[in-house]
């Protein structure tokens, strides 16, 4: 994110949908938004750096309703979901979350949602920023599968940070402490229907509360805020600083349809030996056999704190472009500029020195284990 006092304004119309927590986030002082799955998503309250420290030290509550769900039900639901991802889901249990990259027949990544299995043939795909709904619907229709696919009234509210578990336990009961990472339970909070998952787009721990009825948005927000008060909860958002430090990838930033899973470190989620002919299997077999020509790595950039890249920054080696910075942030904790970069495979060894062209001049950089990808 470009952090400056000169950020342009965002227009708000019906098309830029409002989350059930929108009014609450306004009251909580949200200062900026992005648009994600056609919905406004808060990007900072105090400042990105202040929000980051709060996440690292305490606990934050995030309106991530823009992580829209694709609900897939019906007799062929499992069949469709397995068709959509290279990940082998044969052992996925009800109550489990799985990170499931979706690829097309060429192996190009279309989205990287988290799958929730709510029943034998009942799934949600908790989307990154692309209309996975349309992909799933198109594939299902073309293949003649007997499924129902829709965007249900489901809106995640994330509680993240070292004190998140205690907040959610105070809110819902100590039983939430038994939920393992990437598992979930259904729960009622008074009249409010929830899915409580131990997940979230940070590595600081916590939960995502999937609100299943948007009329309770304000009420859920207030209940979480109240439960978090003793722990110093503050409104926050997915943090570019934290997620770059942690090596968490962002669809649309670090990967697009132009990339395959092997380039972006997601090869471990591709089971090419499973019997199912999932979409992209032949392409991924060929790509894996041939080896990739580029891959994502962590880099450190020298010099003064950067403000993050608003677009790809070209990377050069001896005057030749060999890649680009896809995401970046100054880490106030490590006191380093960190980046995620797509580099030609010959230049991906740790310690390789590079030149990065930023809007404010060229910076030297080094392929690094921080962030760890």
């Amino acid at each position: 994110m470009t952090v400056s006092t000169q950020l342009p304004a965002i227009g708000i119309v019906q098309r830029t949908r409002k989350s059930p927590f929108f009014d609450a986030t306004q009251q909580a002082g949200v200062q900026g938004f992005t648009v994600y799955n056609h919905m406004l998503m808060p990007i900072f309250y105090d400042s990105p750096e202040a929000d980051y420290w709060h996440l690292m030290n305490n606990v934050s509550m995030w309106d991530v309703a823009a992580e829209r769900q694709v609900e897939i039900t019906g007799p062929d639901a499992f069949k469709l979901v397995q068709l959509l991802t290279p990940r082998n889901l044969s052992k996925c249990k009800i109550g489990q979350c799985k990170y499931v990259p979706l690829v097309d027949q060429h192996g190009g990544i279309l989205n990287d949602p988290v799958l929730l299995r709510l029943g034998e043939n009942h799934f949600w795909l908790s989307l990154a920023d692309s209309d996975g709904l349309l992909w799933a619907k198109g594939v299902a229709l073309g293949y003649g599968l007997d499924v129902n696919i829709c965007e249900p009234d489901v809106s995640p509210l994330a509680v993240q940070g070292p004190k998140a578990e205690q907040v959610v336990a105070d809110l819902l009961g100590d039983w939430v402490k038994d939920i393992r990472f990437f598992w979930f339970k259904e729960a009622m909070l008074g009249d409010i229907p929830l899915i409580v998952a131990r997940s979230g787009w940070s590595k600081q721990g916590g939960f995502e509360l999937y609100l299943r009825d948007s009329q309770y948005g304000a009420q859920l927000w207030d209940l979480v805020a109240a439960a978090g008060k003793p722990y110093g909860i503050a409104p926050g958002t997915p943090s570019t600083i934290e997620r770059v430090e942690s090596g968490l990838l962002s669809y649309g930033n670090d990967m697009t349809i132009e990339n395959n899973p092997y380039e972006v470190g997601l090869g471990k989620f591709c089971d090419l030996e499973q019997p199912v002919d999932f979409i992209g299997k032949a392409a991924l077999k060929r790509i894996k056999a041939e080896g990739v020509t580029q891959k994502l790595v962590g880099i450190e950039l020298a010099g003064d704190p950067i403000s993050g890249n608003a677009h790809y920054w070209p990377i050069y080696k001896d005057g030749t472009q060999i890649g680009k910075v896809t995401s970046s942030a100054y880490s106030p904790r490590l006191k380093k500029n960190l980046g995620i970069a797509m580099l030609a495979i010959d230049h991906t060894t740790i310690g390789t020195t590079l030149d990065v062209e930023t809007p404010n001049g060229t910076r030297s950089a080094t392929v690094s284990n921080t962030p760890k990808l």
Copy 2:
């Protein structure tokens, strides 16, 4: 659009893609953006009302690169395109544009692009704001069609307003005056490859210049600005005021997947008698036979100038909710508040009086022929 000095900021990262005209629009003083097809799109320069008057009286140039294209080529390209829309394309000529709503098998509208036929089996779908690319790819894959589908490097720049024709004629030659409405020609402007279409998202006349190589973005912008200088050209954007006055619908505002073409006045584009079994045919036959339960109408709202609805405004009749305002604007030319509204079918007669719940209180309103839908 909510027009105020208190608009929140927009975050800018790689994921919010930049158009080839982005730098030029910054230099031209753009003040606000929306995100449309994962790309930043300018929404105003001077003020929405000043920009509107310039469009009405002179000529404006708009960065509408966010109207991304889905390119469909290959032996089955025509077959796929006809499958995707209820509109009968059997008479669509090379060089012609067609407005082609896309619907799913239930008749729900997924997008309402403009189709450009570049060759026998070469099409672009110039998208509204949803990933039509994923829908087309999913359908094609599932149906086993022999096509290539991609998002090409194509970025429309619109020149709109009463003096637009003269600007584009001065830029490219008087031959452009012979291009009929919704037809296009290929052209080179020096080294710059273009498609020149008489089209655009206003009713003030003009062209869309589809730039076919993004490296020329700044150059094309400057050439259009220079050609327009004698005519007082100014940077502008699609105008909510003008398009509401003109009854031009906006996908995501006035229609969504929840709506069918008959509800939103697009029934005339549905040829249910054509031999092709396009997607949604059976559903649309049923809907047409049964008649719709709601439809879009124009309304006038009483009272002081409104600033446009940021979300649906509920509409009541005798205390019962019977619909919602989907778009609205104060028309400085007509000195009236205009709206587009989805109303239960029993309340759609011209002259019907209504109560609209706005954030600033209830307003009386009347079903109207202005805007004409």
